[in-house]
């Protein structure tokens, strides 16, 4: 049941406990209890909104940064990853397989600030062998949502 509730919430964070109760055929109290528990255990990290900032004319600069690092004895990649993810500019940090080790999504107000962050903060960290910065040019799909001209609204006004 928890998984079912989380799937509904993942798709729509504004949905009420009462609505979830109806949709899953579970008592409201039970749903509330499960959500509270999930929040406490940090299965639910936070509730957020997927926004197309271009629509409101507030452009943010995003960059995907490939980071190659030397793993350290005992802690592997984790210690360096932590030094990176502590920076608020690093919005997402993943350890990945392949030709580099960490994928870091960085955002800031200007391209200059992002470049500065990489040059001044990220690259000089001990153990970081090198970085490759990809500035994000266009978003087509965000968190499963197509940004322009999605799927909806194709149905004809008919009764069948």
């Amino acid at each position: 049941m928890l998984k079912e509730i989380l799937k509904i919430l993942e798709n729509d964070a504004r949905i009420t406990t009462k609505q979830i109760a109806t949709m899953t055929g579970t008592p409201v109290d039970e749903v509330a209890k499960l959500i509270k528990k999930a929040e406490e255990e940090r299965a639910i990290l936070k509730y957020k909104t997927v926004i197309n900032w271009d629509k409101v004319g507030d452009e943010q600069v995003w960059a995907l940064i490939e980071v190659k690092i030397t793993p350290q004895r005992d802690v592997g990649f984790d210690a360096i990853a932590e030094r990176i993810y502590r920076f608020p500019q690093a919005r997402t940090v993943y350890l990945v397989s392949g030709t580099y080790d960490l994928l870091v999504l960085v955002t800031d107000k200007t391209m200059h600030e992002v470049a500065d962050f990489v040059a001044q903060k990220l690259a000089p960290i001990e153990g970081v062998q090198g970085t490759v910065t990809h500035f994000l040019l266009k978003r087509y799909k965000e968190d499963g949502e197509i940004l322009e001209g999605g799927e909806g609204g194709k149905r004809q006004p008919v009764i069948l």
Binding site: Q19, T22, T24, G25, E151, R155, V158, I159, L160
Partner: protein, 399 residues
């Protein structure tokens, strides 16, 4: 000299065949013009998924067009599709249909239904079907020269048709029992044991059973029983299915029939003289749907189920009593406490609150007193529609 368009139309009406004249236009389409002319209508009227066809299916069809697969296919349908379908029916129901002689790919299940009736009915033959039922059933029988015989069902019995009621209608003219579960418009699902009783009737009186299972995959918290899997029924069942509802492929128009080779040969004969072959790109899409569509279907079914629960609870909360539909994507609440006929209810709800539902009477006499609400629409729309319906019912409630 001016001609009166009305007298013109009367003049030509007499040229329309008697058979066609006795069929009323589908009651479902009655509000079409009204609906098309209105802004801001929430439609619970249309019986189709609100999902677009899963992308991998569309992509397969696009690729086939790029490669130039634009010609006719074999009359019976692309061999690869029939192979896949045969495998699918084996995997799903443990039913073995020979892809070469026992399967036919049609233009939607609608064509399959029409062919099934035309291939089996002689003038005056009777076809027994539940009332209410899908609007095309009685028309298909009449067009084939047969007589539809209605068996009443009701909310008290969850709109399940009883074998005893069917048997009471059997005469020496009876040829076929036509059923469609999960049901449009009621959302009813028949339990296996009740279908078994119908199978007994079919066997006792040597009848065919045409089983429209287009909604087979859309069941919630229960199992769908494929009629042909009942003991001894495969040979006498014309199993009708399609891709529209489960795979969100309504516009592709691909359905199928599975039956014994004599029936399929007869249906193929009509199909080849009227249709030639089902659309090629649709068939390619259907192959892809059968090969790797299961995950998408499961996701959509999960989603429908949530909306179903919201719709049914919402209707009950407003005071429109509603049995729990376990299949398809329809709720079929009673509107008797408003004192209106179902047509009046549907029309006034559309005009006063801009919510489109389909009057139950469109599906037969026993549908009177109900309306069909399709919940294959967004949750936000369902909730807004329910809020509007609540206002409407509170205003007009008699009891």
């Amino acid at each position: 000299m001016t001609t009166n368009p009305l007298s013109q139309s009367n003049k030509y009406r007499s040229l329309v065949s008697q058979r066609v004249r006795q069929i009323l236009p589908s009651g479902i389409r009655k509000f079409f013009d009204l609906l098309a002319s209105m802004e801001g209508v929430i439609s619970l009227g249309i019986g189709e998924p609100d999902f677009a066809t899963p992308w991998h299916v569309r992509e397969a069809a696009i690729y086939s067009l790029e490669k130039g697969y634009t010609m006719y296919t074999s009359n019976q349908g692309m061999p690869e599709l029939r192979q896949e379908l045969s495998r699918y029916l084996k995997d799903t129901y443990n039913l073995e249909y020979d892809p070469n002689s026992e399967l036919l790919i049609t233009v939607g299940v609608s064509e399959a239904l029409d062919l099934a009736m035309r291939a089996s009915i002689d003038p005056g033959d009777e076809v027994i079907m539940p009332d209410p039922c899908y609007v095309a059933y009685d028309a298909a029988v009449i067009l084939a020269g047969g007589r539809p015989i209605m068996v009443p069902t009701s909310q008290e019995n969850n709109f399940e048709v009883s074998a005893a009621d069917i048997e009471s209608k059997v005469t020496d003219k009876t040829k076929t029992i036509l059923i469609g579960y999960p049901a449009n418009p009621t959302g009813a699902v028949m339990p296996r044991n009740k279908l078994k009783q119908i199978a007994e009737v079919a066997r006792r009186h040597n009848l065919l059973v045409a089983s429209d299972e287009i909604y087979a995959k859309l069941v919630y918290g229960t199992e769908h029983t494929c009629f042909a899997t009942l003991p001894g029924m495969k040979e006498r069942t014309i199993f009708l299915g399609g891709f529209s509802k489960a795979y969100a492929m309504t516009g592709w128009r691909i359905g199928y029939a599975a039956a014994n080779r004599e029936i399929i040969a007869a249906m193929t004969k009509i199909h080849q003289y009227t249709i030639m072959s089902a659309p090629t790109m649709g068939q390619v899409a259907a192959i892809e749907a059968l090969k790797s569509g299961e995950a998408s279907v499961a996701e959509m079914v999960e989603d429908y189920n949530r909306r179903r629960l919201v719709m049914v609870k919402g209707l009950c909360d407003i005071g429109l009593s509603c049995f729990e539909p376990k299949g398809a994507f329809y709720a079929f609440p009673s509107i008797k406490n408003t004192g209106m006929t179902s047509e009046e209810f549907a029309e006034r709800l559309l005009v006063e609150e801009k919510v489109a539902v389909v009057p139950g009477s469109a599906f037969g006499q026993c549908g009177e007193g109900h309306v069909r609400c399709c919940y294959a629409t967004s949750l936000a729309d369902i909730e807004e529609a329910l809020a509007r319906m609540k206002r409407f019912v509170n205003k007009h409630k008699k009891i």
